[in-house]
Symmetry: C2
Subunit: 201 residues, 2 copies
């Protein structure tokens, strides 16, 4: 599990309450690590008990009190240990890819609007990233260590979205071609196709 480490990084970059962390995970960090507020609160309590982070109660006018957490020495040490462990292979859950292959056994045309919707989401995200690049990194020659690393991660997000957009266009072209050609609802290919071994792509 690395949620605690993702939280540590976020708190090192800037202290905050559980609620604020949940919002960060919905926005920026959420693109490479998702978490609900429930998960975050639970892990924060455990991390505080383990001495990884320290909490400070902050009274607010009008709003409920909040507990602002910041990373403690033990947390920083735990993060350093974790950094030296090997990265486990990513667990991928690409639902859209599963659906695209599933469309062969139903009607490919039924997927088109869904893929278009997906494409809009990625286009919006890309433009948000590009906007953030302009705003937060206007001068690439004047970045400190933390900013350099944040920037290269953002670059990854940008290139990922560009690639995804291009790929979704390919997917749409394929689906439209199949929808025009084989009318009648599909579903009766045998599916064996050219491939026979478990080692197929």
């Amino acid at each position: 599990m690395a949620l605690e480490h993702a939280i540590l990084v976020s708190l090192l970059e800037q202290p905050g309450s559980g609620y604020e962390l949940a919002r960060r995970f919905d926005r920026s960090i959420g693109r490479f690590w998702t978490a609900t507020h429930q998960q975050i609160y639970r892990v924060l309590r455990r991390m505080e008990a383990d001495g990884w982070i320290a909490a400070e109660e902050v009274a607010q006018d009008g709003r409920p009190d909040k507990k602002v957490y910041s990373a403690a020495g033990a947390g920083r040490a735990a993060l350093a240990d974790w950094l030296r462990e090997p990265v486990e292979p990513e667990t991928v859950r690409h639902e859209l890819a599963v659906k695209i292959r599933a469309a062969a056994f139903d009607d490919p045309a039924a997927l088109i609007s869904e893929v278009e919707r997906h494409r809009e989401g990625h286009a919006a995200l890309l433009s948000r990233y590009l906007h953030g690049e302009q705003r937060d990194f206007p001068d690439l020659d004047a970045l400190d260590t933390a900013q350099e690393l944040q920037y290269v991660v953002l670059r990854g997000g940008i290139e990922y979205e560009r690639m995804t957009l291009a790929w979704l266009d390919e997917v749409l072209a394929t689906l439209r071609r199949l929808a025009n050609g084989g009318e009648g609802g599909g579903g009766d290919q045998d599916g064996g196709g050219v491939q026979s071994s478990d080692d197929r792509v």
Copy 2:
């Protein structure tokens, strides 16, 4: 949950036992949906109880018996229903990206070998994909529906790996630059940097 649907697609493309499915999920399908054998066996039993799939006991010489599953009519119908549901946003767990940002609070140089190892893995996967493209799709003008869709998903895998390789090279360049410049172990940036709002990228 969509593991059952990923299994259905795999069984429609080709029937197989739980063990064979686990191997497919380690190899081909594993790139967009990962699952352990435990998950697969559990879900297979549930799917059989629900009538989504049918099992046939197959005796083997030398090896234990195996149960070969294939998709049933109810399974195919369930897949069609699922296809028409909206795709939930992907839950991303990009551990390496977290580590890259974490490196700002420790020693960036400590990550270099890890990123290199990661890069090798992606390079190997790309070459496996390209090999599979040559082998399974030699003639792009003679594909049926299922093959067209398998091909466009493979294309996505190829472009993803290409993009990732280019990005990892960027990451390595950044890490090496930081390792040569700021010697001494880092860890003392304030981390606040240019960014102050939760809306940052």
